[in-house]
């Protein structure tokens, strides 16, 4: 690791935090103006139906209505999607979930737009709506996408396959086999800022500017240009700061931008489309619900020898992050790849089935399917420990991937990329007092402690991997760094500025990071997959290195020194070891400017080319992994089933914490979401209709539902990461749910394999087991 860092590794205050805390920071919704048209969508009345007729004439006549659009009125392709353009802007002849728009309206006020929707008459022929992929994949199920390129497989979109070693033999020879069926629910991201897009026709260029809260401005441009029938260079996409994304605003942003965009083109006016909270719940993407059959083979000494895993994923109504080219399905692929979790297992077979249903489409959500896969594995290994009467942490220690080991997809683990799992486990073990039994009271409340671990590969292999940025040195020795990544609370502005200042020898305050605007920055890739610190950070370092090299080469002559003997620090340039030679960097830059030294640079970085074979799921998809261990203590009221999370101790190996407070923020927020996923969150669907589309019946944790979340940062550097870093945005959500489930088993002696562990389900199990 680099020594003597000045700015990297410090918890400098967030660049934008004070503007947020004083209410001055402007989000997309804060750019609304009274003269914009207001867009509203008429959503599908029936989640799965044929549209027999639509009559919009009365709505069109209403005073104040600027446009009413149905599928026949669109300017370009009626389809978009990150991987496959199968989601219509406006449903054409068929609805597939309750979030399909059937018609769109733009009007001068929201009230008129709402009134206009009421005047639209639609006739439907209702079809069977599927909530459960296991039902939808049956042979006699009604086809949700009869004309889909994958329609020959029924409602099955794809199967990702992974095969390694001789699984049959391993199970035949196993001393012990653990087999279970696990279920994880569909959940909503619950970012607080509802989705919104302001679409502005650009009369100067004939193009369109989409101002839209989102995580991937370039993807939005690529996906939607054909919808608008515009060449890519005339579609500008920008995002002000974003009020939370968690993966959701990689997709839902397309939904709102498509609607606002087509209405803006139609009316030639600026149009704003903002979802209500209920619409966010009913129409935007969700975490894939999964149904996992997991078999694990082991020796009596506790060595895991094989896994055999079948995962069914609820794809929902549209492909989203899935693809047609197998195995390029971000989430499905990971459920197979992580089927053995963090363990070195010689033989593995995994099949992951992604199936269309009539629920909202499943998309990216913090962890891309890894939380689901790890949930099953971490429950399995806990059962193995019980069966072998071994300490669950020691059993894990026996099996974890170490330097030189292969994952079940054939990736070789390298110490040089940072393998800090064991240190995480030990630190959590010590901190929570694992060896000291929990005190139990005489009443109905029982206490328990559970443990779980994870690993998570940095980045998004198989989709697009790499990043670029612009950096511009100004004559006053300040630096602009322009990236296309999104600032959604994770702190990308801050950590990029820290890294750039460190690399160029500038003060932190002298670097300004602009973000998420295709008009200002080259493609940095989407702000997903825990990739920005590493991928975009390396691109920023690349740009800074170029600028520094040019400055030092230029300075060599006046300083009469070899460029390698020159250094820049705190706005001064000097000969190393001779502080008396120091000169103002601004003065040097002014001279360089006058001497035709280019002061702008494009930074780029690409990780090693990822691979993952479609035939057997073998390859090297990831370049580095974050790791973590989580111990949780809970109490269960055995008379009511109510679970209380009493304590949470969490350690993560992040390679290098560029900003430790920001890392802790990710860990604490991830732990909170993981606890929510484990004990209360669940999108309840009935025949394609959501039953709990509000914050008073879709539960997320309040401040009273969480204990003090204890975080421990572990740093095993990644040789390819900037300053040794690895991605830590998503993974903290992963281990809480299995840790809670293992704690419930510890408290009650009851095994529960379906989350969320609500009071209702816990009490039912207690009664079934006669332990009330």
């Amino acid at each position: 690791m680099k020594k003597g860092l000045r700015i990297v590794g410090r918890s400098v205050a967030r660049a934008e935090a004070l503007a947020k805390a004083t209410g001055r920071a402007r989000y997309t919704s804060d750019f609304k103006r009274g003269d914009m048209l207001v867009a509203k969508a008429l959503w599908a009345k029936y989640p799965h139906a044929l549209i027999k007729s639509i009559d919009t004439s009365a709505a069109e006549q209403l005073a104040g209505v600027a446009a009413v659009m149905t599928a026949k009125d669109l300017p370009g392709r009626n389809g978009y999607g990150i991987m496959v353009p199968d989601k219509p802007v406006i449903a054409d002849g068929k609805t597939r979930y309750e979030g399909d728009p059937v018609a769109l309206v733009a009007a001068v006020t929201e009230e008129i737009a709402t009134k206009a929707l009421e005047l639209i008459k639609v006739e439907y022929e209702v079809l069977t709506a599927y909530d459960d992929p296991r039902e939808a994949m049956k042979d006699d199920a009604v086809l949700i996408h009869p004309n889909h390129p994958a329609a020959d497989k029924g409602n099955l979109l794809t199967v990702v396959k992974l095969d390694r070693g001789d699984v049959e033999k391993a199970f035949r020879e196993a001393d012990i086999v653990i087999e279970n069926y696990y279920e994880t629910p569909m959940v909503e991201h619950c970012y607080l800022e509802p989705d919104i897009c302001i679409a502005e026709p650009d009369d100067l260029t004939g193009g369109l500017h989409l101002i839209c809260a989102q995580q991937a401005v370039y993807a939005t441009k690529r996906c939607l240009a054909p919808v608008f029938n515009l060449p890519h260079h005339k579609v500008r996409v920008s995002s002000p700061i974003v009020g939370g994304g968690f993966g959701g605003k990689e997709d839902s942003s397309l939904d709102v931008a498509a609607v606002a965009g087509v209405l803006a083109l139609k009316t030639k006016k600026t149009v704003c489309f903002e979802l209500t909270r209920e619409e966010v719940f009913r129409t935007t993407g969700k975490r894939h619900a999964t149904y996992i059959k997991h078999r694990m083979a082991a020796t009596k000494e506790g060595k895991i020898t094989a896994v055999d895993v079948e995962t069914v994923l609820n794809k929902g109504a549209y492909t989203s992050m899935g693809g047609l080219r197998e195995p390029a399905h971000a989430v499905t692929m990971r459920t197979a790849a992580y089927a053995a979790g963090v363990y070195a297992v010689a033989s593995a077979k995994a099949r992951s089935y992604s199936v269309f249903t009539n629920t909202p489409y499943s998309c990216a959500f913090r962890g891309f399917g890894v939380p689901q896969a790890i949930f099953a594995v971490e429950c399995q290994i806990d059962e193995l420990a019980r069966r072998l009467n071994m300490d669950p942490i020691e059993l894990r220690r026996k099996n974890i991937l170490r330097d030189g080991d292969h994952t079940i997809y054939g990736q070789v683990m390298k110490e040089s990329r940072g393998l800090g799992l064991e240190e995480c486990m030990d630190k959590v073990r010590d901190s929570i007092g694992w060896d000291k039994p929990l005190a139990q009271s005489a009443g109905p409340v029982k206490r328990g402690r559970g443990f779980a671990v994870f690993m998570y590969g940095t980045g998004i292999p198989l989709l697009f991997e790499g990043a670029s940025c612009f950096a511009v040195l100004n004559n006053d020795a300040t630096l602009n760094v322009n990236i296309a990544s999104t600032e959604m609370g994770q702190g990308v502005m801050t950590v990029m500025a820290q890294m750039a200042a460190e690399a160029l020898g500038l003060n932190y305050e002298d670097v300004l990071v602009s973000f998420s605007d295709t008009g200002r920055a080259p493609d940095s890739g989407p702000t997903v997959g825990s990739r920005s610190t590493v991928m975009v950070g390396n691109a920023v370092l690349d740009a800074c290195r170029q600028l520094k090299d040019r400055l030092l080469a230029f300075a060599a002559k006046p300083f009469k020194a070899d460029p390698r003997d020159l250094a820049i620090e705190g706005g001064k340039i000097f000969v190393v070891g001779k502080p008396e030679t120091a000169e103002s960097l601004a003065a040097l830059i002014a001279k360089a400017y006058a001497s035709q030294v280019p002061l702008a640079a494009t930074g780029v970085w690409y990780p090693p080319q990822p691979s993952f074979r479609a035939e057997d799921g073998q390859g090297e998809p990831m370049h580095a992994y974050a790791f973590g261990a989580h111990a949780i203590e809970i109490s269960v009221d055995t008379e009511t089933g109510v679970i209380t999370v009493d304590r949470s101790v969490f350690a993560c190996d992040v390679g290098k914490a560029i900003n430790p407070a920001a890392v802790e923020g990710q860990m604490e927020g991830g732990a909170a979401q993981g606890i929510g996923w484990g004990v209360m969150e669940e999108q309840v669907m009935e025949n394609g209709v959501m039953q709990n589309a509000a914050f008073h019946n879709y539960m997320i944790p309040t401040i009273k539902d969480l204990p003090d979340l204890e975080s421990i940062i572990v740093e095993h550097p990644n040789e390819l990461g900037p300053f040794g870093s690895k991605g830590i945005g998503e993974p903290p959500i992963i281990p809480a749910a299995p840790a809670i489930r293992n704690a419930v088993w510890d408290a009650l002696g009851i095994k529960m394999n379906a989350i969320p562990l609500t009071a209702r389900t816990v009490l039912a199990e207690i009664q079934k087991n006669g332990k009330a």
């Binding site: 935090a17 209410g23 604490e668 909170a672 979401q673 401040i703």
Partner: protein
């Protein structure tokens, strides 16, 4: 019918004509340009739209604007500025309690209402006061630290 109302907004008198059903959060954001008050649910469930009315934290998304006639309203803009932040705002920044920031104005104002009445709150009192404000980013741990730090500074 337009209703004529007068109230004190961020220490300044305001006179407005409002509609009977007009909601305070919309009046603040859309008519008065005070966009620091956030609207995240519109159903009174999340606390992002919290403002102080006569010193009490209330939800502006379920409050008729007409009903603040004669009262004192404080929004996040009236508490402090970037140049001269209120100690609670500074404490949120220093503690790393601000992530996406959408809950932050509501959290800060709710914390102010608490600290005005209870200058040295316990963790339990902080939790009780902030239990109606949802945050999806932080897990609340640093928010509690921020409120404690702000209390100490007072």
């Amino acid at each position: 019918m337009a209703v004529d109302i007068k109230f004190i907004l961020n220490d300044k008198p305001v006179e407005l004509q409002v509609e009977a059903q007009e909601i305070l959060v919309d009046t603040l954001r859309e008519r008065l340009g005070l966009t620091g008050t956030k609207k995240a649910c519109g159903t009174g469930d999340c606390g992002a739209c919290t403002v102080l009315v006569d010193g009490e934290a209330v939800r502006s998304c379920i409050l008729l604007t007409a009903s603040v006639d004669g009262k004192k309203v404080l929004t996040i803009e009236g508490l402090g500025t970037v140049e001269n932040p209120h100690p609670i705002q500074q404490a949120f920044v220093d503690a790393g309690a601000v992530q996406c920031g959408y809950c932050t104005p509501g959290m800060v104002l709710t914390a102010k209402a608490l600290l005005d009445k209870c200058p040295n709150p316990t963790t339990e009192q902080i939790k009780e006061a902030l239990a109606g404000n949802l945050c999806r980013c932080t897990g609340y741990t640093k928010i509690i630290k921020a409120v404690k730090a702000a209390a100490k500074k007072n």
